[in-house]
């Protein structure tokens, strides 16, 4: 880092080493493309360790905190290798502007894909180990003893033979002058003392007394407020507006269109006043040809996708499925449907922007702090390095805040229309959030498979019709026409099938789509893991044993499936009237399986008696936090199962708020038993994998209870409710 030691604060930058290339005190990153490319490597160290004279160890955290807990768990990785005293560790965010001015030296800040730990763990542990080595080196020099006789434990550096020992603080200045070791050995997992501990999350106390600051809470002198109405039909434009009755209302400062007439904005001295005035503006919108799109037309388009002859084959297609199916003893075919879904994080979208003479400042809840800088800079035509993004907690993210280029850009465009230095806070209503999301893609699946006389699966065909997140949202050309997200779960079946034929047909509509928690894995298992159940039923076999029989001996899914089954007492019959369903998945580098126990009454009331969720994430950094993530996954899966749908009519979203976009409430939350079954040997994600097997396990249990297969969501359409 090219920032000199801050001697005025009498703190010392101790170490910031790179996996390769060296990255240390006083080190300056050359401003060239090669270095920029290297810095973008996600394995690169992206954290500093700073030690103050009072032994306080400051660990920087580069990504975002939105409730997933890695503001605490990522620094655990650093602190463990450092052998720090966790009570002396202070965690602070990486300065985004410093990051941008130094060619994104901390690597990827995007907090997505359940990858904060798994993509950063080596770099973070290396940063800790490097800092430790430099403290040891300093102690060896100061005490004139061999470095290899020095131990570090719980924040104390000691030399047993001489009886010398010291805290980190007294060694920091000397340590900062030590050469940065080119390589350091990382601990064997058996030696971990902070990794693997359920240390309390550092951000939680502030969330209990109202002091936690979210994007919506930013308050600045002279700040004004903006309310927004976006074109109700996606892609629409403002045609005309009459603000005569709104202009004179109390507190109204200005009314104008932004972003190529895609939205109308009212600026006032108070957000409620801005919103009241906006409701009085008479607006007509140009629907740009999309005003007749509805659920039926979308469904017809997706049906065409299922039947299209030009679908792109997945690379794992093998053998001759047609021949296998023609010789099969039994052939099953089924279509599955999963609707568009909204993220609806509790904190609505919004951002505060202040444009000054030299800098643009932004305060917003985001999963992509550096992405916000890029977005705002792009909107204003200024270099990203001049944008200062202030870090705040996000009131839920779930993929909605991952650099979508909407609310941040809008706030910047609004600020640009106001006098310089005027801070403006844009806040969307819940209705704007519900109706202007980046929705979990609607997807349809057509599955066909055959069993031979021994009830072995001899052929399996999958056709997926879905939008493409990479193609539509990111503009990335699809390799061989296949979207990796839409096909998750089918690119490698955990089941042994000699003849497989999987294909994907991109079905883009005008509805914006985005990364919804658990992404493709939130919906593909609904089809795959129900279909395998259908095959088991056709074979007259227990769904667990049918799955296991089709798995290789070294298939890691076997283990987690068995763990879930054992903890649910799968081989013991449930109570009379209670039925079980099971499913297994391999999402985000982890393995997750679930067993759902439920009963159904005559009026369609579903009572979930218990859910067993099991995860093998390889290693576990903070067990209690993993449990929390899996408990939360239940809310997502059951909400999607029972009520989740975004309907399109007249080109726009029908739902508006929590009254018609139903999500799970306390009274509907079932008992959840989370089983952590880490085998070691790899690092998997934990934020998203929990949800993946829940939806099919739930529907498989519903089949067991009712004898009916439900292949379309949500289930309230079939008369079901949770009791």
């Amino acid at each position: 880092m090219n920032k000199p030691v801050n001697s005025t604060r009498r703190q010392f930058l101790l170490a910031s080493a790179a996996v390769s290339g060296g990255f240390a005190l006083g080190f300056s990153l050359p401003n060239n493309k090669a270095r920029a490319a290297e810095a973008a490597d996600p394995t690169r160290v992206n954290i500093w360790v700073e030690v103050a004279p009072d032994d306080t160890v400051t660990i920087r955290y580069a990504r975002s905190e939105m409730g997933q807990g890695s503001f605490t768990s990522a620094p655990q990785l650093v602190a463990d290798e450092l052998d720090a005293n966790w009570d002396q560790v202070k965690i602070v965010y990486v300065d985004v502007n410093e990051h941008l001015r130094n060619n994104r030296a901390w690597g990827d800040m995007a907090t997505v894909g359940s990858r904060t730990i798994r993509a950063s763990q080596e770099a973070l542990r290396t940063a800790g180990a490097t800092a430790r080595a430099m403290l040891v080196s300093a102690a060896a020099q100061q005490w004139s003893v061999p470095a290899n006789e020095i131990t570090v434990q719980n924040g104390i550096v000691a030399h047993a033979a001489s009886g010398k020992q010291s805290g980190f603080g007294a060694l920091a200045a000397l340590a900062a002058t030590q050469p940065v070791p080119e390589t350091v050995a990382l601990k064997d997992p058996s030696a971990w003392s902070i990794i693997g501990q359920s240390v309390p999350r550092r951000d939680i106390p502030a969330s209990t007394d109202g002091s936690q600051v979210y994007g919506i809470d930013v308050s600045l002198p002279g700040m004004v407020y903006a309310a927004i109405a976006q074109a109700p039909v996606f892609g629409g434009k403002l045609s005309t507006f009459n603000d005569a009755s709104a202009r004179g209302m109390r507190g109204i400062i200005d009314i104008f269109a932004i972003d190529d007439d895609s939205a109308l904005v009212v600026v006032a001295d108070n957000w409620w006043r801005a919103q009241q005035a906006l409701a009085r503006v008479e607006i007509t919108w140009d629907e740009r040809g999309n005003g007749s799109v509805d659920d039926a037309s979308i469904r017809a388009f997706f049906q065409e996708g299922l039947a299209a002859t030009d679908a792109a084959p997945l690379p794992n297609s093998a053998g001759d499925v047609d021949a296998a199916l023609s010789s099969a003893a039994k052939v099953l075919e089924a279509d599955y449907y999963t609707p568009y879904l909204s993220h609806t994080p509790m904190e609505p979208m919004g951002a505060t922007v202040q444009i000054g003479a030299d800098h643009v400042q932004v305060w917003t809840s985001t999963q992509s702090a550096d992405g916000v800088a890029t977005e705002v800079a792009g909107a204003l035509g200024v270099p990203p390095e001049t944008v200062i993004v202030h870090r705040v907690q996000a009131g839920g993210g779930f993929g909605r805040r991952g650099g979508t280029g909407d609310y941040g850009k809008q706030a910047a465009l609004i600020a640009a229309k106001l006098p310089m230095d005027t801070p403006v806070k844009l806040l969307w209503t819940r209705e704007e959030d519900t109706q202007h999301g980046f929705y979990r893609p609607l997807a349809m699946y057509r599955l066909k498979a055959g069993l031979d006389a021994d009830n072995k699966i001899v052929g399996w065909r999958t056709r997926i019709a879905s939008g493409s997140l990479l193609g539509q949202m990111r503009g990335i050309p699809l390799p061989n026409g296949v979207d990796a997200m839409a096909t998750e779960g089918f690119t490698r079946l955990p089941y042994l099938v000699d003849n497989q034929d999987h294909s994907y047909k991109q079905t883009p509509t005008h509805v914006p789509i985005g990364f919804w928690r658990t992404v493709g894995w939130s919906q593909t298992p609904f089809a795959r893991e129900q279909f395998i159940d259908e095959l088991a039923h056709a074979a007259g076999e227990d769904p667990l044993s049918f799955r296991l029989r089709h798995m290789a001996e070294d298939e890691l899914s076997r283990h987690i499936l068995q763990v879930a089954a054992d903890n649910a007492g799968w081989t013991t019959a449930p109570a009379a009237g209670v039925f079980r369903g099971i499913a297994t998945t391999e999402p985000y580098g982890s393995f997750t399986a679930a067993v759902v126990e439920l009963s159904v009454d005559a009026s369609g009331g579903i009572k979930v008696h218990r859910i067993v969720q099991a995860i093998n994430s390889g290693h576990v950094v903070n067990p209690d936090n993993v449990v929390a993530q899996l408990q939360g996954a239940t809310v997502w899966a059951l909400s999607a199962a029972m009520w989740g749908e975004i309907n399109i009519e007249r080109g726009r979203v029908r739902q508006a708020n929590f009254h018609d976009y139903r999500v799970l409430r306390m009274a509907e939350m079932p008992k959840v038993d989370v089983v952590l079954a880490p085998t070691g040997g790899f690092w998997g994600g934990v934020g998203e994998p929990g949800q993946a097997p829940l939806l099919p396990a739930f529907c498989n249990a519903l089949f067991a209870a009712t004898g009916k297969r439900f292949r379309e969501l949500p289930l309230y359409h079939q008369g079901f409710r949770l009791v």
Binding site: T208, D209, S211, Y214, S219, Q393, Q631, V635, M666, P670
Partner: protein
């Protein structure tokens, strides 16, 4: 208008129909009380009015005049409230955004029913949480009440 919030009086010059939430947040700059739905569906804006939990996003400020208003900031001044302590002990919050409202609802529930059963909790705790902290909220309330959850609702 004069408002009594957290034992302090505030003189505010606002429209009578402005919801109490926006007076608290944007006029008086107390940000612990949250906006999320604006139609009394989610409970993120829950405050106490004379000890009762109220969804402040739909309450005209004029209706709160002359009453005792308590926000999350005033639930316990200078010391942690037992509910807040239990929330930390059980590591309840994830993103934390709904938790001001959850804590206000729980504090009110425990005030009225010191030993709530699961049905009491279900009835009183209708606030939404998208992260899915319900199981821990329930556990924290049972902990405070010295009660044990029913088997089906741990």
């Amino acid at each position: 208008m004069e408002l009594l919030i957290n034992d302090q009086t505030h003189e505010v010059d606002v429209e009578a129909e402005m919801p109490l939430l926006w007076v608290i947040r944007d006029v008086l700059d107390m940000k612990g009380t949250k906006y999320s739905c604006g139609i009394a569906q989610c409970g993120a804006c829950t405050v106490h009015i004379d000890g009762e939990p109220v969804r402040s996003c739909v309450l005209p400020v004029s209706a709160a005049v002359g009453k005792r208003i308590t926000t999350i900031e005033g639930l316990a001044q200078n010391v942690a409230h037992p509910v807040q302590e239990a929330w930390i002990r059980h590591q309840v919050p994830q993103c934390g955004y709904c938790q001001s409202g959850q804590i206000m609802a729980a504090a009110s529930l425990l005030q009225k029913i010191p030993q709530p059963n699961d049905a009491d909790i279900d009835a009183a705790m209708s606030n939404l949480c998208r992260c899915g902290t319900y199981a821990r909220i329930r556990a924290a309330i049972h902990d405070l009440a010295g009660t044990t959850p029913e088997v089906a609702k741990a």
